[in-house]
């Protein structure tokens, strides 16, 4: 595994028995004890992930708000200080550059969190867009580590390690600094599992202290160390999209079913006119959920058929650990995106029957 990057927690993963794989150019654990055990820990107790491979970009300057607003699909102008929003960066044609989280300090200072595999592409894109604005962009990805603590017991566990009253951090808000085990961190009430929990950012040279302090207190709360395998099944079950699966340069946020995060009535942003046109003309493709008869799993890019005719493709499919069924998400011609519609999926040499369902196979349980 040469030329792969390691997070600051690499040695901890090896020490704790993590099964290391090449994940988007990073040596990260796919699992520790087992994907299903870890998945269930996050649903029922809590689990901790190393997501230091994610990218972070700081935005500073008097045009910071105008720049971020122009960059992303969501409405940045209505954000409160210390709020986090989710949105996409689009190309002019409405295809997606990446999805991201926007952390607002104030109108002149933001933090953008982007996907590991897209950091170089995204940063180059931002640098091009920023030319029109008085803003300083800094890619702090390589010096910033991130840990996600997720699950219904996450707050109670983390509260042992900080004087900050964590119950005061609302859903999709953050605090900075929050001192955890003596380390100044950014802590947001966000995550990628459909459960309550936190994302914790700290410098590379301090993250191990935070990680090990959480492990030390974790036993009383059923904490499991989690690999990226269950991160994917968890996010998938609650229909949280993944770039490269549900989203791509060839799929618009509207086609991906992410219209909620696209504010077409706000100021101009890159891709807006293409998305307005797409909405006016009506979507030709839509994202659906489906459930398969029996056990076979429909993987990414498998064909979706109707009476033998190709109507789309699977974006993600799993045998869902929480619901115990073979389910998936697909993008199909809009006329078939109707709940209850019978479709077929091409799984290797066989065609299996499936039925169109809601995208979400499992209900989210965020803190209200």
């Amino acid at each position: 595994m040469s030329n792969l990057q390691r997070t600051a927690l690499y040695e901890e993963h090896v020490k704790n028995g993590g099964k290391i794989v090449d994940f988007a150019g990073w040596e990260l654990p796919i699992q520790y004890e087992g994907l299903v055990v870890e998945h269930e820990a996050v649903r029922n107790d809590c689990g901790m992930f190393d997501v230091s491979h994610m990218g972070e970009v700081t935005v500073d300057g008097k045009d910071a708000e105008a720049f971020v607003q122009y960059l992303v699909t969501n409405n940045v102008k209505t954000m409160k200080e210390k709020q986090v929003i989710y949105g996409q960066m689009c190309y002019e044609n409405g295809g997606i550059v990446d999805d991201l989280l926007v952390y607002k300090y104030n109108t002149e200072k933001y933090l953008l969190v982007i996907n590991a595999s897209n950091v170089a592409k995204d940063f180059a894109w931002m640098q091009e867009v920023v030319k029109k604005f008085e803003v300083k962009l800094v890619n702090i990805s390589t010096e910033t580590s991130e840990v996600a603590l997720q699950g219904p017991k996450a707050e109670k566990l983390l509260q042992n390690l900080t004087d900050k009253d964590l119950s005061e951090i609302g859903f999709f808000f953050f605090e900075n600094p929050v001192v955890i085990a003596g380390v100044e961190c950014i802590v947001s009430r966000t995550g990628y599992t459909g459960e309550d929990g936190f994302e914790i950012y700290a410098p590379n040279d301090k993250i191990t202290i935070v990680w090990n302090a959480i492990i030390e207190k974790g036993g009383d709360y059923g904490l499991k160390l989690c690999g990226l395998g269950c991160r994917d099944t968890l996010r998938f079950e609650v229909a949280l999209p993944l770039y490269g699966n549900e989203m791509s340069k060839d799929i618009s946020p509207l086609e991906a079913g992410l219209g909620f995060f696209v504010k077409l009535d706000t100021d101009d942003f890159i891709g807006k006119s293409a998305l307005v046109k797409q909405k006016e003309e009506g979507l030709k493709r839509k994202t659906i959920g489906f459930e398969i008869e029996g056990r076979p799993v429909a993987r990414h890019e498998y064909k979706v058929l109707k009476n033998g005719k190709e109507i789309g493709f699977v974006t993600t499919g799993y045998n869902s650990p929480s619901v115990g069924k073979s389910v998936g998400i697909a993008i199909v011609d809009a006329e078939y995106a109707v709940k209850g519609e019978e479709i077929e999926i091409q799984i290797r040499k066989k065609t299996v029957k499936a039925i169109v369902t809601a995208k979400r196979a499992y209900k989210k349980s965020y803190k209200k």
Binding site: Q31, G34, L35, D232, R295, V297, N319, P321, S326
Partner: protein, 125 residues
């Protein structure tokens, strides 16, 4: 990792138990551990004629699907139908969860398989 003595092993991590002219084939404990939680199996059908190296089916874990290759040639005479309904059995008891039995058409192929000692070495590389 559990390796049972007296069985033969293929590089693709199938175990082979030979009784007379019949081989019983399953997936090794090493393989189930590497694959993780198994959720689906595709097995051959009775009377299928397989040549060594042919894909006999698919083993699918939560994370990925992998083709499985038959280590020996012959005619499939029995398939473990119970395992199709409960493929997680391979995770809990790899050596108790046989997949299919094949009537050997070329016993010399067995010479190309590993014994338990060689297989243990092979897995540790």
């Amino acid at each position: 990792m559990k390796v049972v003595e007296g069985l033969l092993y293929a590089e693709d991590h199938e175990w082979v138990k030979v009784e007379g002219n019949v081989a019983t084939i399953g997936l090794s404990d090493f393989a189930q551990h590497e694959l993780g939680d198994i959720v689906f199996l595709e097995l051959p059908e009775v009377d299928d004629e397989l040549a060594a190296g042919d894909v006999f089916g698919v083993v699918e874990s939560v994370k990925a699907a992998s083709d499985s290759f038959t280590p020996v040639s012959g005619k499939v005479i029995e398939v473990n139908e119970d395992l199709l309904d409960a493929p997680e059995g391979v995770n809990s008891d790899a050596f108790g969860s046989w997949m299919y039995k094949i009537e050997l058409s070329n016993k010399e192929e067995l010479d190309g398989l590993m014994d338990s000692t060689k297989y243990t070495e092979f897995c540790s590389k």
